[in-house]
């Protein structure tokens, strides 16, 4: 319940935050919404000596339509993402995933950037980022770089962010016309984390599936794409039978975790079931149904 002592830093700009990161290195942790980090600190599973609070850094909370992409500031809360009309209408999968995180209070504090940088295996958003081919913008002392979502989630609780980098923005490429998406989650009854979270994005061309992307959260140590399913669906007739066949491969290549809430075998099974259901919903939306 009571965290270890730390020194608190409250920079007001990304530059200042980077300066502090440079100074304290591994002894420092960035604090965003705090809903991953603070519980760990209270259980003393994390005890950073320096806490750099990004809460007062200006200009990191926004959702902007930038033409080819929607740009989301890293400190944008899950509530803001879930409520955004822009996202709900254009990238339903992201708004739905944000709405499924934790509970109201958690969503009111938790941020998109914080969740992605923490990269909890049970987090909802990593698979969504993969399915959307999102780009994550990191700023470091030497400048800004853009990391493709596919390269971002490197390992359990690990990302491609360098220790002296701050995640500042998430860029969602605009989805093509005739695209539908959804997020479907099998939640841990206790924690609310994803046991399985399927982000499905389907584009149709007439009666054919032009493209399908499926991100899988909660199952392995990191989120991943169900590439077998995606390939199996592309070019297929846009119907439930094709989805059903393709979904059988949704767990291929994933090494599922197992715990008291769901065994590895059950997680694999759920991935297939939920992939089918999510793809059907996304397909329906792509076809203008629902």
């Amino acid at each position: 319940m009571i965290p270890s002592a730390f020194e608190y830093h409250s920079p007001t700009s990304v530059e200042d935050a980077l300066g502090l990161l440079g100074r304290f290195g591994d002894d420092a942790k960035l604090l965003a919404g705090g809903h991953s980090l603070i519980p760990l600190m209270k259980l003393r599973l994390a005890a950073p000596e320096h806490l750099i609070d990004l809460g007062r850094v200006q200009g990191l909370s926004y959702i902007r339509d930038e033409g080819g992409a929607i740009a989301i500031g890293a400190m944008t809360t899950h509530s803001a993402v879930a409520a955004s009309e822009l996202l709900r209408s254009r990238v339903a999968v992201l708004a739905e995933a944000a709405a499924s995180i934790g509970d109201v209070q958690v969503r009111n504090r938790g941020t998109i950037g914080g969740s992605l940088a923490h990269a909890d295996p049970g987090a909802d958003l990593p698979g969504v980022m993969l399915a959307l081919n999102a780009e994550l913008v990191a700023r470091g002392a030497s400048g800004t770089r853009t990391i493709a979502a596919a390269d971002f989630f490197t390992d359990l609780l690990s990302t491609a962010l360098e220790p002296n980098e701050v995640l500042t923005e998430i860029r969602i490429p605009v989805l093509p016309a005739n695209t539908g998406s959804t997020y479907l989650k099998f939640a841990n009854q206790a924690s609310g984390y994803a046991i399985v979270g399927i982000a499905a994005v389907v584009t149709v061309s007439g009666a054919t599936v032009a493209d399908a992307r499926v991100g899988v959260s909660g199952v392995g140590e990191t989120a991943s794409r169900a590439s077998g399913t995606e390939q199996a669906l592309r070019g297929q007739p846009a119907n439930a039978d094709a989805v059903k066949r393709a979904a059988q491969q949704a767990a291929d290549g994933i090494e599922p975790l197992g715990d008291i809430h769901a065994s590895a075998e059950y997680r694999s099974h759920l991935v297939r079931v939920f992939a089918e259901r999510a793809l059907n919903t996304a397909l329906g939306r792509a076809q203008g149904r629902g």
Partner: protein, 166 residues
């Protein structure tokens, strides 16, 4: 570790304190300010007993440091009733037997106040969804749902009355 100076407005009153950076906001409220209506029920942000409003948004005060609230304005359960008049949500909990042991109640009430600010006439399912972050072990939630419906109706009636009407 160095103390930090914070200036926090709680229930309309401004407080200045030197605090240890690791002081949880809920402990600040309870121990520094003596506002013990905000409770603690877990250590992993599941139970919601510590829910308060941070600039009118429902948050869990056990998952924030007091230093993060510097310069912000908070509302706790103690700040709801105005001039001896219960807030409609408080009234709903009383009318509908929305509490038994009362421990989850302040946090539950604050969540509901947050809900009704965002959605003035929630459906039963919306109410149940909105209090997902608040655990109650006594009521089975049913009378809480009734309490929220009571409060929503009451607030809707109040909103219909002309300004200045009593």
């Amino acid at each position: 570790m160095a103390g930090a100076h914070v200036s926090i407005t709680v229930n309309g009153k401004s407080y200045e304190r030197e605090v240890e950076p690791r002081l949880l906001l809920v402990h600040f409220l309870r121990e520094e300010l003596g506002l013990t209506g905000t409770h603690i029920g877990c250590d992993t942000s599941q139970c919601g007993a510590c829910t308060i409003l941070l600039d009118d948004i429902a948050v869990k005060s056990c998952t924030m440091f007091a230093v993060q609230a510097d310069g912000r304005s908070l509302t706790t359960v103690e700040g709801l009733a105005q001039g001896g008049q219960l807030h409609p949500v408080q009234e709903g909990f009383w009318e509908e037997h929305g509490l038994q042991c009362g421990y989850c109640t302040p946090g539950m009430i604050m969540s509901v106040v947050g809900l009704l600010q965002a959605n003035a006439s929630p459906s039963e399912q919306e109410i149940r969804h909105a209090i997902h972050g608040n655990l109650c072990r006594c009521t089975g939630y049913q009378h809480i749902v009734n309490a929220v419906q009571y409060a929503a109706n009451k607030m809707a009636e109040g909103a219909k009355q002309p300004i200045g009407a009593d």
